[in-house]
């Protein structure tokens, strides 16, 4: 089959954006401003091409690939090219039902982000960077080689760093560095874990795609295959101690990216300072890299350790969930509140994973996807708020429903979607997480008090969202003075591109809320496959039934 991933999905956005940037950096300042419009249009078209490719993949237009029924550790559209042969590094790409939704989500968010931030300043450099960001993100999701995975994992930092640094808020200097260093720190620890894992492979057991110098392989399918073989012998792959250590090291990188409490404090700073487009991609896709990585590596390779760390993960998830929500309630900054709500929602993903139930995992996957659509809208609303009222303080502007019905409606919609209103995308994931959690608690004889956290959060989430809406959308009206930051100018409502972006996001939020099976079926299939292929053979007897 033709390689639909390497060049079309990864190379194309990266190369085209680099060329655009190189071109733009050579022209004069005034020319750059003139070029802004055509470059924006070009980036939009490019991103739509990407969206077209992934959507075509979904509809089986390219190569008639069905996203269901792909066995565990099987990949579609997969291609492998030798990269650095002496170390066993290959450019290996492929998609399965775990990564495809994320790739589609990325390509979906790219045009939406471009539209939503249509009038961003210095567009000639901004839009190519957004495009590059997309290419790097897709690279993370399609990579099936540890080295390539890590390369793209870090590569995503660079465009995001520039997005925050050059288009961010007042404190962007601090925030961009904190973002970069914090996540970098965690990922180098992860890197050490990956390398240790690499060398713990058995060179005696002939490895496919091994490096001539090292005798080991970076190939994820190969490693997964070996791990599966070893694990299903009833042993712990690499032995109990090593497996636990490696699991912890890899998880550290992913937990920080996710982020989970207590590693979350980079997120609010990054979000508050990031420009709208940066926040949209950051919250929409970048956070999901953490969860994606968990599924792809530690969970697939070290299921025993997963079970060993189950309680720890559950605690971290619960703490993230509850702490995020509580802190949200104490925020006065709109964007910070939304950022913490992301922390809270990422807790849902962790809890879903910690349940070790197919439904919990499907919930986590769907939450990744749903939050990937909802949170960009949240941040788009925040961005519009900031853009129009020059303030992020909740209460700076009241009675939006009166003078800015579009912002008000979008905000209400996004907020409601985020708090898990039924028939909007987020609800299904929360519901499934709830059911899986209770099922797990009941089946394993855990205390009922584990339910207190999620239950509390349902109420708290409503509380902080309603509280903020009361102070923004409601109240005020005619007699409310616009904030001083407007300097007496008339209050503008959403501009047309923003409206369009909001409508697209809202439409898809509804679409995946009303018809979750569009995405959920393949996610369910993936969880079923990994349970059939990995978890059940390994842990089925281990538990002796619950």
């Amino acid at each position: 089959m033709q390689d639909w991933i390497s060049l079309p999905l990864v190379g194309f956005p990266l190369i085209s954006s680099l060329l655009l940037l190189a071109f733009v950096s050579k022209v004069s300042e005034s020319m750059r401003n003139k070029l802004s419009d055509p470059i924006r249009m070009a980036c939009l078209v490019f991103s739509l091409v990407l969206l077209g490719i992934t959507t075509g993949m979904f509809f089986q237009y390219f190569g008639d690939v069905s996203w269901e029924g792909i066995g565990f550790n099987q990949y579609e559209y997969s291609h492998r090219y030798t990269w650095i042969e002496s170390l066993g590094i290959h450019w290996t790409v492929g998609l399965d039902a775990l990564s495809f939704p994320m790739v589609w989500l990325t390509t979906f968010l790219l045009p939406v982000t471009i539209i939503a931030t249509w009038n961003e300043k210095n567009g000639a450099t901004y839009f190519p960077i957004v495009l590059a960001m997309g290419g790097a993100l897709i690279g993370v999701f399609v990579a099936l080689d540890l080295f390539m995975f890590y390369v793209f994992w870090e590569l995503t930092l660079i465009p995001m760093f520039f997005l925050i640094l050059m288009w961010g808020g007042a404190d962007r200097k601090y925030a961009s560095q904190k973002f970069f260093i914090y996540t970098f720190t965690a990922s180098v620890v992860m890197l050490l874990g990956l390398i240790t894992l690499y060398f713990f492979q058995d060179p005696g057991n002939p490895l496919d795609y091994a490096g001539s110098m090292t005798g080991r392989s970076f190939d994820i399918p190969t490693i997964t295959q070996h791990a599966l073989a070893e694990n299903s012998n009833g042993n712990w792959y690499l032995g109990a101690n090593i497996q636990k250590v490696l699991f912890a090291m890899l998880m550290l990188g992913f937990l920080v990216k996710l982020p989970a409490v207590p590693f979350h404090t980079w997120l609010p700073d990054a979000h508050v300072q990031a420009p709208t487009g940066g926040s949209m991609l950051l919250a929409g896709v970048m956070l999901k890299m953490g969860a994606y990585g968990m599924f792809r590596l530690p969970i697939s390779l070290f299921p025993h350790a997963l079970e060993y760390f189950q309680l720890a993960l559950m605690i971290i998830g619960m703490v993230s969930l509850v702490w995020g929500a509580i802190v949200c309630l104490g925020q006065t900054n709109l964007k910070k509140m939304v950022a913490y709500s992301s922390v809270s929602h990422m807790g849902v993903i962790l809890i879903g994973i910690a349940t070790m139930q197919p439904m919990g995992w499907a919930a986590a996957l769907f939450m990744m996807f749903a939050h990937g659509i909802i949170s960009p809208m949240l941040f788009a609303v925040c961005g519009a708020f900031k853009h129009h009222y020059h303030s992020m303080e909740i209460g700076a502007m009241r009675g939006m429903a009166k003078h800015s019905p579009w912002i008000a409606t979008s905000m209400m919609f996004a907020w409601m979607a985020s708090l898990g209103l039924p028939l909007l995308a987020g609800f299904v994931a929360e519901l499934m997480m709830f059911i899986a959690l209770w099922y797990f608690i009941d089946a394993n004889g855990w205390s009922v008090f584990w339910m207190v956290g999620p239950a509390l959060v349902l109420a708290l989430t409503a509380a902080y969202y309603l509280w903020s809406m009361q102070r923004t959308i409601f109240e005020g009206g005619d007699e409310t003075q616009p904030p001083a930051s407007l300097h007496g100018e008339p209050v503008p409502d959403l501009a047309s591109p923003e409206k369009l972006a909001m409508l697209i996001l809202a439409a898809f939020t509804i679409l995946f809320g009303v018809m979750p099976w569009i995405g959920l079926d393949m996610m369910h299939d993936w969880t079923k496959q990994i349970f059939d292929g990995l978890i059940l053979p390994i842990l089925g007897d281990f538990n002796g039934g619950i």
Partner: protein
């Protein structure tokens, strides 16, 4: 393994074998003579007949061009560089230059040649990019001139560069510790003067003095160590020393160990390992940026050769069941060095000092790698193919030194452009570089993240290799043992694994200060009076561009270079 050809000095095949060195020598002569060519005449005594002999007098326009020495030096160093490349492409012959008594003095092989590649590459880039910028207005100078130095003084500068290259290549080739030491001193003396070259500037001479005094003390200690080794073994040939070391019983180790320790000090100064690094930041800060770049790359590589020869050839880890005697010492040195360097760089506001400290940190990473080689066969049960592991680690070190030229020197070259318009002793000097010259800022950013080890830059690959090497040694063959049902815990890995952990954590710390440079360039406004365009000079920009390309290309597709380094590493010791 190719056959070893032994040649006596000036014997048959000597010219082919010593091609690069002879080119350097010839270039040096040209540098001395050509700038002095003029209409000078020689009056035959007792007659009025004046024979033009071309030396002195009114110089030709061509020979008085201040750029001439730079061109000459560039061509000389570049020629040597390409000569080395050429020999690589021809399939390298192993050639030893032996004395009449049959002692190996110099050995041409992959290992020495690849280091020459590093030396000549770095010096050629430095020479090329210094072409337009050798002015008096250094940091804090009293005298201010707008013109370039006249070409005689220019010639001094470039002659020193070439002698430096010559000294370094002797270090790379030497098979006798004393020959190595002489080469080292030749290179060192050149660098002392290069550092102090801006004698009109306060900091220039000060840095020169400090570098000279501390360097001299270190080499004094080293020489004393040499004398002790000689006292002990009766020869300073590496193979003799290695045999002696392997056969000495551990109770008689006092003398050689002290000797080796003292020699380590000498080389430790060159690689700027803590606590011998103190003069380095001062030297880097006072020297012109290209020279500082040479110190951070070529000079460091030179010191590393010494360490490798001493530690891996002379005091080689035992081939049986055990690890090198210096393992703990070097491990501690590595840990202290990388941490010290990073911590110091963290708070440094002077970009050149920051790069100096970062260079200390990188020295620490390489020392950690050498430590791992020392542990190569720490446990017969799990060490596995230890020789391959040792080669892997050494490959990593060589690769690191090689790519360091691209991004470390590149960073200094960017600073050199700013330096020629004024002070670069504050980070804010870089302010607004993205607005003033975007490509330069992007280049600097690429150098910085490459130094920090962010993919897909070459610096990432090199750091990855180092970590991989260390982990490989620490893990050994446990994988195979595990597959056979062995049970291992974290503690069963060799402790050098923790050096790898320390190293990644240090990379994280280093991110602070590397990123800060990016922030300043892309975020801050230019300093007052620096808003205008940067000084012109296509040469330095071309050099920077070459560095960026190398950084990116090796980072993305470094396999060929990696194999080259592997080959070099293998040729160090054919027992592996």
């Amino acid at each position: 393994m190719s056959n070893l050809t032994e040649i006596e000095p000036f014997g048959e095949g000597f010219v082919e074998a010593m091609g690069p060195e002879l080119i350097l020598f010839a270039g040096m002569l040209l540098l001395i003579i050509v700038p002095n060519l003029g209409q000078g005449t020689f009056r035959i005594p007792g007659t009025q007949l004046r024979l033009p002999w071309l030396l002195g007098g009114q110089r030709f326009e061509f020979t008085s061009d201040p750029r001439l020495p730079a061109w000459l030096a560039t061509f000389t160093l570049g020629g040597a560089f390409f000569n080395v490349l050429y020999t690589f492409s021809q399939g390298l012959d192993r050639v030893a230059i032996v004395s009449e008594s049959g002692k190996q003095l110099l050995l041409v092989n992959g290992f020495s040649r690849i280091f020459e590649l590093i030396f000549f590459g770095a010096l050629a880039l430095a020479a090329f990019s210094s072409m337009n910028r050798l002015r008096v207005n250094g940091v804090g100078s009293k005298v201010s001139e707008t013109e370039l130095f006249n070409n005689r003084r220019q010639a001094d500068f470039y002659i020193l560069m070439v002698t430096c290259a010559l000294g370094m290549s002797v270090v790379a080739l030497a098979q006798d510790l004393f020959v190595l030491f002489i080469g080292l001193e030749l290179a060192s003396f050149s660098t002392y003067v290069l550092v102090a070259f801006l004698k009109e500037s306060k900091v220039g001479v000060e840095s020169g003095m400090k570098y000279f005094i501390v360097g001299s003390v270190a080499s004094g200690v080293g020489l004393y160590g040499l004398s002790m080794l000689y006292l002990w073994a009766g020869s300073l040939q590496f193979d003799v020393l290695a045999t002696a070391f392997a056969t000495t019983s551990s109770t008689d180790m006092a003398l050689p160990l002290i000797g080796i320790g003292f020699v380590l000090v000498g080389f430790g100064f060159k690689v700027s390992a803590a606590p011998f690094h103190f003069a380095a930041p001062d030297a880097y800060a006072g020297a012109t940026s290209p020279v500082a770049g040479v110190l951070a790359t070529a000079s460091k590589a030179m010191g590393m050769i010494g360490l490798v020869r001493m530690l891996l050839i002379v005091a080689a880890p035992e081939t049986g069941d055990g690890s090198a005697i210096w393992l703990v010492c070097l491990g501690v040195l590595a840990a202290v060095t990388m941490t010290w360097g990073n911590l110091a760089a963290l708070g440094s506001d002077n970009p050149k000092r920051m790069l100096a400290y970062s260079s200390v940190a990188h020295a620490g990473y390489m020392l950690a790698a050498l430590t791992a080689v020392g542990a190569w066969n720490w446990d017969a049960a799990v060490s596995g193919d230890a020789g391959a592991a040792a080669v892997a680690v050494l490959t990593a070190v060589i690769f690191h030194l090689l790519v360091l030229v691209a991004f470390k020197l590149g960073a200094f070259l960017v600073l050199s452009i700013l330096e020629s318009e004024g002070d670069v002793s504050r980070l804010s000097s870089l302010g607004g570089l993205a607005k003033r010259e975007p490509l330069l800022a992007v280049s600097m950013f690429i150098f910085m993240i490459s130094l920090a080890g962010v993919p897909p830059m070459a610096g990432f690959l090199s750091k990855l290799l180092v970590i991989m090497g260390i982990v490989r040694v620490a893990v050994g063959d446990m994988g195979a043992e595990l597959a056979d049902g062995g049970i291992y815990a974290l503690g069963d890995m060799h402790w050098v694994w923790w050096l790898a952990l320390l190293m990644v954590l240090n990379s994280a710390i280093s991110m602070f200060y590397y990123l800060r440079v990016g922030v300043v360039m892309f975020f801050d406004e230019p300093e007052e009076g620096r808003e205008g365009p940067l000084p012109a000079g296509w040469q330095v920009r071309a050099a920077i561009f070459a560095c960026v390309l190398t950084t990116l290309i090796i980072g993305v597709a470094g396999d060929a270079v990696l194999r080259l380094c592997e080959m070099a590493a293998q040729s160090l010791n054919y027992d592996w």
